[in-house]
Symmetry: C2
Subunit: 174 residues, 2 copies
């Protein structure tokens, strides 16, 4: 048995359907939808596997991942910025991770407003166990892209990120 060939509009999604549309910034719109659908496709798959194989949620994993790279821990605001989610969201996720014993949380010595979080031994151990498999999943998504394309994508996305940021900043200033 192989792929579901009988499934009628196989792999038709938001990105695909705009193709024939006669519009203004048609190309840019298509590019955005394609970018978004790639991202969503991968994100959903990671979420599914993380849940299925480790009973761990993606947002919780993401916080551990940030902390694994930060030896001195991170203040909540940093986590919020890096993951690009709202500050209020971080508060409750952190609460959960403290309760489950994956991280510790202490008030910063220099600034009593700031809360520093760090991985516990358990947190680091469990994160690394998950990260090992996680990184294999990721590699698989890109498996069929030649190394040259990967590098080219890296460059182009870096440029896009800069361009986007500039355009966001520019709009905020009159």
């Amino acid at each position: 048995m192989s792929a579901p060939e009988e499934q009628d509009p196989l792999w038709i999604d938001a990105e695909t359907t705009v193709a024939a549309r006669p519009a203004d910034h048609k190309m840019e719109l298509r590019l955005w939808l394609r970018l978004f659908s790639c991202s969503r496709l991968i994100e959903n798959d990671i979420r599914r596997h993380l849940n299925a194989e480790f009973e761990f949620s993606l947002p919780r994993f993401d916080i551990l991942a940030q902390l694994d790279r930060a030896d001195e821990g991170l203040v909540l605001g940093e986590v919020s910025k890096r993951l690009m989610v709202s500050a209020g969201n971080i508060t409750s996720l952190v609460e959960g991770l403290v309760k489950s014993g994956h991280i510790t949380r202490t008030t910063s010595s220099g600034d009593r407003r700031a809360q520093v979080i760090r991985l516990t031994d358990k947190g680091r151990r469990e994160f690394r166990r998950m990260a090992k498999v996680h990184s294999d999943w990721i590699a698989a998504y890109f498996e069929r892209l030649p190394q040259k394309d990967i590098e080219r994508l890296m460059d182009l996305l870096a440029t896009l990120k800069d361009s986007t940021r500039q355009s966001i900043i520019a709009r905020q200033e009159p």
Copy 2:
């Protein structure tokens, strides 16, 4: 007054911080995080503007966008697939859009399980009003990319999407 230059780790985020990590599939991981952060950056900005300028939520806008391209309406399952969100989520969003008069919802004549949704006149009018500005925002994100880069990105992301789908399908089969 210009951009916040004193802000210390300006534009440090999840994607940036993995750069120096000595790891397995380092390149692929970086690429995924870069892709994700581009997508997130744009998505968040669109959401912000849609809320601020039209008091309309992004998921609601996304459904209208699908319907604007589908003259005969769409069954809920199609919407769910195209937007890549769960079926249960669509149910309540559709409920809200019917209540606010943007769409209609009828049982499919051929299949009494299926629900077909369509734009109302009001829905189409309001969507198009928003879409006009929306498309300008999108164009601005890509403003600083040469046309050639845009085309290259389109190609590479198409390849990536295929590669990802194949890898997802492949894992589901023994």
